[in-house]
């Protein structure tokens, strides 16, 4: 029973959970409104959402809104909501938006498109809330924190993918004298890493007409969590529809650059899947597909999506997508074939779609693993047969002929 949280264009927070009804293929969604939306336009639009499962079985849900306000809610077992901490990002200018939000234990990281990075420590029983600030370049489109919170990466319009050390970014305050420096010695500084920056990508080579290709990273994600801060695998999507894979150990240029993945309006979001070599890519035109990371081929595309996908949330065997057509869809996922280039046998499809009345802007998984495993088991056909086969083998001596005949028949059916 996968469970998700979504935020919408009017600022409402909802909890969406999917469950099986009657047959093993029919899914049903139940939506409950956690925080009602405003009735006064889009000033409270939820721009980013993050959830964290605390050890004491409650969920922390952080949301940032278009007007710069941010709040962390605690959701208790009986879906009671309480506000843990609220603050306002004063550096969010008009026309700018939040590009990143991560909730890690009791620390919230937010980043805006004009580079206002903030780390907020949530109030603990023995400590007051505190926040530390840092500043990054402007024109960002996406900001992500790594799984172990030691590094983060960003990219944007004319901003190359860049990997930073989180601690250094907050401890050293580099850019105070920065604007003057960049103006005067632009050429020299262009390639130099900023204090705290670990690695920065380099633009792809000029095209066959030797024209420079514009840098416009619209979406990015970490692949394969790594413990060494400077060794990361990154994936970026650009506005002209390319998906690029970076390996920070190897090169500053992308190790692979797959062209033409985003068909309309460029890549909207990329998200690492739970299967190996699987990644989900959505464009701004209504395509959502799964990609094989080994060769950059689309292994399948989800059918029946009529609006641009705003947010993708993989959750083990499932994936949930929120889209501009006001639907939240539960999709099934299947990993890419064992060997590159083989035929993809099972393709993911939309299992269930829920109309949510207001455009959902972001959806996140609650990260609860245990609950899903229990409900998934009885679904498949094959595991059941296996169970019967094993049982039969163990006590075939004591049982009569009828049962083993039955078993033979069953085997025949299954083959």
């Amino acid at each position: 029973m996968p469970h998700f949280y979504s935020g919408d264009a009017l600022g409402a927070l909802k909890s969406v959970s999917f469950s099986l009804v009657d047959s093993p293929t029919e899914w049903k969604a139940t939506t409950t409104v956690l925080v009602p939306g405003s009735s006064s336009g889009h000033s409270k639009t939820v721009q980013k959402l993050a959830s964290y499962q605390t050890p004491e079985s409650s969920t922390l849900l952080a949301a940032v809104h278009a007007d710069g306000s941010a709040a962390v809610h605690a959701i208790h077992a009986d879906s009671q909501l309480s506000v843990v901490h609220e603050w306002k990002e004063g550096r969010l200018r008009e026309g700018q938006k939040f590009v990143g939000l991560t909730l890690k234990e009791s620390t919230v990281y937010t980043c805006t498109s004009n580079g206002a990075l903030r780390r907020t420590k949530l109030p603990q029983p023995d400590s007051e809330p505190s926040s530390s600030l840092s500043s990054l370049p402007m024109r960002l489109c996406e900001w992500r924190l790594s799984a172990d919170a030691r590094t983060f990466v960003y990219g944007g319009e004319e901003v190359e993918m860049s990997l930073w050390d989180t601690e250094k970014a907050f401890s050293e305050r580099p850019p105070v004298a920065e604007p003057a420096l960049t103006d005067s010695k632009k050429r020299k500084r262009g390639d130099q890493l900023l204090p705290g920056e670990v690695w920065r990508a380099k633009n792809v080579p000029n095209d066959q007409l030797s024209l420079r290709q514009p840098v416009y990273n619209t979406a990015l994600t970490y692949l394969q969590p790594s413990s060494i801060p400077s060794q990361q695998h990154l994936l970026a999507g650009t506005t002209n529809g390319c998906v690029r894979r970076y390996d920070t150990r190897v090169a500053r240029r992308p190790v692979s650059n797959w062209v033409g993945i985003g068909k309309v309006g460029g890549v909207g979001s990329v998200e690492d899947g739970f299967h190996e070599h699987e990644v989900f890519v959505a464009d701004r035109g209504s395509t959502l597909s799964a990609l094989d990371l080994r060769n950059g081929r689309t292994i399948y595309t989800y059918k029946g999506i009529s609006g641009a996908v705003t947010s993708v949330a993989p959750a083990q065997r499932f994936m949930v997508s929120a889209s501009q057509d006001r639907y939240i869809r539960l999709n099934s996922t299947f990993g890419p074939p064992a060997e590159v280039g083989q035929q993809q046998e099972q393709k993911g499809e939309v299992l269930c779609k829920e109309y949510v009345k207001v455009v959902p802007t972001v959806v996140v998984w609650d990260g609860f693993v245990g609950r899903e495993e229990t409900s998934v088991e009885p679904e498949g056909e094959e595991p059941e047969d296996e169970v019967w086969d094993v049982m039969q083998a163990a006590d075939s001596d004591s049982e009569g002929e009828g049962k083993s005949a039955h078993r033979r028949e069953k085997k025949r059916r299954s083959t």
């Binding site: 009017l10 889009h42 004063g90 309309v264 701004r284």
Partner: protein, 385 residues
């Protein structure tokens, strides 16, 4: 094979066979006619029978057996005990949220109230000033398209036709940006292909959405026999059969083309009738011949639209040759250390003045709200508007 009925096809003589067959057919026809006449007579005596028959004999059409779409702003007919036919006539002058038969939930109403057309419905605009509409064509248009544009100018009270300029730098998005800065509320671009107008792009200014319609079956006023003359009065508007949330968006988009208050003395009605996702555009003049009877005279033009895509903002303009920009940092770095309420008060003042002269620039990338794909039509009874 002995059949119970005599088959003329079993006769071997051709002349005889034809004769018999003809006779049989005639008998059948006459039988039907007699039945109809008898029914008409019975119904003339007792009008209740006719009423009962009409109530019982509702033909099943694609339209009234359409698949339930959860975005329909009505209750699900499957869960409700009784539901009417699938078309809900909607009066163009009433707000969609305040219809008596259609009761959208709270959230849907809030969503509709927050859409880009909300300003028109809030009543802040002067009802006597028609919205400014800029009509233009695709580059290199020809006669037929210009004729059609002339008709469109006659339909929208605040419309103005400007020829599409030749050369580079006149992309649709850029024109939309200029028009928005000059106070236009809509941009209509008539696209031409094979010397025929074939599509209509409708942009709501200043912040979208952009709708792209397929345009077919154009009949200009001239081609309609017995057509009436149009007058410059603000017409009334009838929007028919827009039931889903997407349909409401399209309906509200068309509603904003016309001044909120019609001039009734003109007795002109513009109709946009949605049937199976085709939008039929008609314009009529009505006349009350007697207190019960109303006569309609068509003014024209006629055309049919079908929604192909709906995009979020203005049409995108790609700037691929832009020079690279260096990394830039937000100036005034230490401002954030101060509490947020001090700059906010100062900002609110100049924000207002800045809003007045804020230049509207087209986006560099499109974002689709809805786009038609063949795979969406899983059955012939799936409709989206």
């Amino acid at each position: 094979m002995p059949s119970s009925r005599f088959e003329p096809s079993s006769i071997k003589n051709k002349i005889k066979r034809e004769e018999i067959a003809r006779k049989q057919k005639k008998e059948k026809r006459q039988g039907k006619l007699q039945k109809r006449l008898a029914q008409a007579k019975a119904e003339a005596d007792d009008p209740l029978i006719k009423k009962k028959r009409l109530a019982q004999n509702v033909p099943r059409t694609l339209d009234n057996t359409r698949e339930y779409d959860p975005s329909t702003l009505t209750a699900n007919p499957d869960t409700e005990a009784e539901a009417g036919p699938s078309t809900f006539p909607q009066d163009g002058d009433g707000d969609a949220a305040s219809q008596p038969t259609v009761q959208p939930q709270d959230e849907s109403a809030a969503d509709i109230a927050a859409d880009p057309f909300a300003e028109y419905f809030s009543g802040v605009l002067d009802p006597t000033i028609p919205p400014k509409v800029l009509i233009t064509t695709s580059p290199k248009a020809t006669r037929l398209t210009y004729d059609f544009c002339d008709e469109l100018v006659g339909v929208f009270p605040g419309a103005e036709f400007i020829r599409r300029k030749k050369g580079k730098g006149f992309e649709m998005g850029r024109i939309a940006g200029w028009a928005a800065n000059r106070g236009y509320s809509h941009l209509v671009v008539v696209n031409e292909d094979m010397k025929q107008p074939n599509a209509l792009t409708v942009v709501h200014l200043p912040e979208g959405p952009t709708a792209y319609f397929k345009l077919t079956s154009i009949q200009l006023s001239q081609q309609i026999s017995g057509h009436a003359r149009a007058t410059a009065h603000f017409p009334e508007l009838v929007l028919n059969g827009f039931v889903t949330r997407l349909g409401h968006t399209v309906g509200r988009l068309f509603q904003t083309f016309f001044p909120p208050m019609p001039e009734f003395q003109g007795r002109q009605v513009v109709t946009l009738h949605n049937q199976r996702d085709f939008l039929f555009f008609r314009r009529h003049r009505y006349a009350f011949r007697s207190p019960e009877k109303v006569a309609l005279q068509e003014i024209g033009p006629r055309f049919t639209l079908k929604l192909r895509s709906l995009k979020k903002g203005l049409p995108a303009v790609k700037i691929l040759g832009a020079p690279s920009k260096p990394l830039q940092f937000e100036p005034g770095e230490d401002e954030d250390a101060t509490p947020t309420d001090i700059p906010e008060g100062a900002m609110a003042v100049d924000e207002q003045s800045e809003h007045e002269r804020k230049e509207i620039v087209p986006p560099t990338e499109d974002e689709c709200i809805w786009v038609w794909k063949p795979e969406l039509e899983t059955t012939r009874r799936t409709f989206f508007l």
